[in-house]
Amino acid sequence: MSNIINLSLSELVSNIRNKKISSNESTLAFVDRSKKSKHLNSYNEETFENALKKAKEFDSKPDFNKKLPGIPMAVKDLFCTKNVKTTASSKILSNFIPTYESTVTQNLWNEGAILLGKLNCDEFAMGSSNETSYFGNVISPIDKDLVPGGSSGGSASALAAKLTPATIGTDTGGSIRQPASFTGTVGLKPTYGSCSRYGIVAFASSLDQAGPMTRNVQDAALLLEVMSSFDSKDSTSVDFKRPLYLKDLSKDIKGKKIGIPKEYRVDGMSQEIEKLWEDGKKYLKDCGAEIIDVSLPHTKFALPTYYIVAPAEASSNLARYDGVKYGFRTEGDNLIDMYEKTRSAGFGEEVKRRIMIGTYVLSSGYYDAYYLKAQKVRRLIKNDFDNVFKKVDAILTPSTPSSAFKVGDKSNDPVSMYLNDIFTVPVNLAGLPGISIPAGLDKKGYPLGLQIIGKSFDEQNILNIAYSMEDKINFKFNLKEWWMND
């Protein structure tokens, strides 16, 4: 059945439940297409044989009560998967085979999903274009030589190219929402504490969250419902009653108050983005929502704050890669020499740069000037959101300041690369949920996204708003299969 790959996750689930398609047929369809899509370099590790075996097992004893019955799915290579290589796209973990499973992926398998493979990403999720991976750049199916965004670039590329019906990513400063925006897909970063961080290769622990990346809003609701759970193995996991996001999905947003933050109208913002945002406001009004101008005065300080906080946490998290207990090792003259050579050869340039930034801001004499300062500004940024959410139910912004760029365009200028995350980073600093939905095309024909930011644990509300807007936007992208080989 050639149209299997065109089905959304929800459609695939209902077709499998109605026995119109078997898990084997659907797995075969995605395996087949993935094999013909090597040019995109979206996979780090393929587990196709095992997936087909599991699909047959499912078909011989199907359980249609599962939320993801026999659904094949590739996941970001940042989630530890038992007995399947997990590398975080780093040389230092290039031979690492976990003996345990991350909670989020375990939740997927518990609901019947089947692992298709591990998807490429920026090294340790540090990057906005998937150009920092040890396993090479990922290419977007949108156009030749175009980056898919990052860090969940392999996930976005595989999803947009229809190599997987849905996928999961992680988002520390925009790593789900920015690539979703670049590839015309839906990406949701849940509230900090919603999805367990257990078994996810850590980058910046106070910011990291896993979330769904899907073809539409309904699929995001379904996948979030499966992913989110309270987990005693993550000390910051929050124990709250999780809604049934899919069941409660509704297009009734009449009377909802939506804030438009004036500080997101940044200098040099293109007219296309400006228009996209205006259209978004119009769609919301058409749905009966009320538009309210709001102010988040510390917005411009979010990125510099992030580039102190995230590297500081990363330098501490990545101290564990020392060539002793696991991973890659370079021999040295003595223990210290071995550490230094291992880390120098095992980490890529961007990761080393961030470890150095983090070490510097935490070092004696600089801690107060940088790290403590950043923590204080982080408070001001969170207070901004708290104040605005007294007046509105959600906030609408563009997802990114531009559409996707070409490979190599920004890789030599770290600051210009960092500016990509200008609209997504504040959300992580404040721990809030945010969703990016495809909202239009720029004049080059590349997708652009709009972001809806919600109150803590108010995912249902932003899903509902996104669901209503999706209908009005009616986003279409004509995917040309230029990358496929037979």
Binding site: F96, I97, T99, Y192, G193, S206, S232, S235, T236, V238, H298, K300, F301, P304, Y307, I308, S315, A319, D322, G323, V324, K325, Y326, G327, F328, R329, G332, D333, N334, L335, I336, D337, M338, Y339, E340, K341, R343, S344, F347, K352, R353, I355, M356, I357, T359, Y360, S363, K373, A374, Q375, K376, V377, R378, R379, L380, K382, P414, V415, A430, G431
Partner: protein, 95 residues
């Protein structure tokens, strides 16, 4: 506040990442441009602001101190770079 080559080498020591001269110079340039951009935080007065270290500001949960994983020595050692059934192996530390 600019970062000189000596400071870059000091940070590299603290980070346990060896650097050759060329990489150190490249990092000096990169770090200076990044920190110049970060300096804009100094526009803000923050004397009376409480630092925010995590969004999960609630008290960490307590749990019973009990053993949940048993006999996993093999699993723990499975990924060690130098193979050995009983220990992690490192270069000689004591003469």
């Amino acid at each position: 506040m600019s970062i000189d080559l000596k400071t870059v080498k000091h940070i590299s020591k603290l980070s346990r990442i060896s650097l050759d001269e060329e990489k150190a110079k490249k990092l000096e340039t990169d770090l200076n441009s990044i920190f110049k951009w970060i300096e804009q935080l100094n526009e803000l007065k923050t004397e009376n602001v409480e630092p925010l270290s995590s969004i999960a500001e609630t008290k960490l949960r307590l749990r019973k101190d009990e053993i949940k994983s048993k006999n996993i020595r093999e699993e723990i050692l499975k990924n060690s770079p130098e193979e050995n059934k009983d220990f992690f192996v490192v270069p000689k530390v004591v003469e």
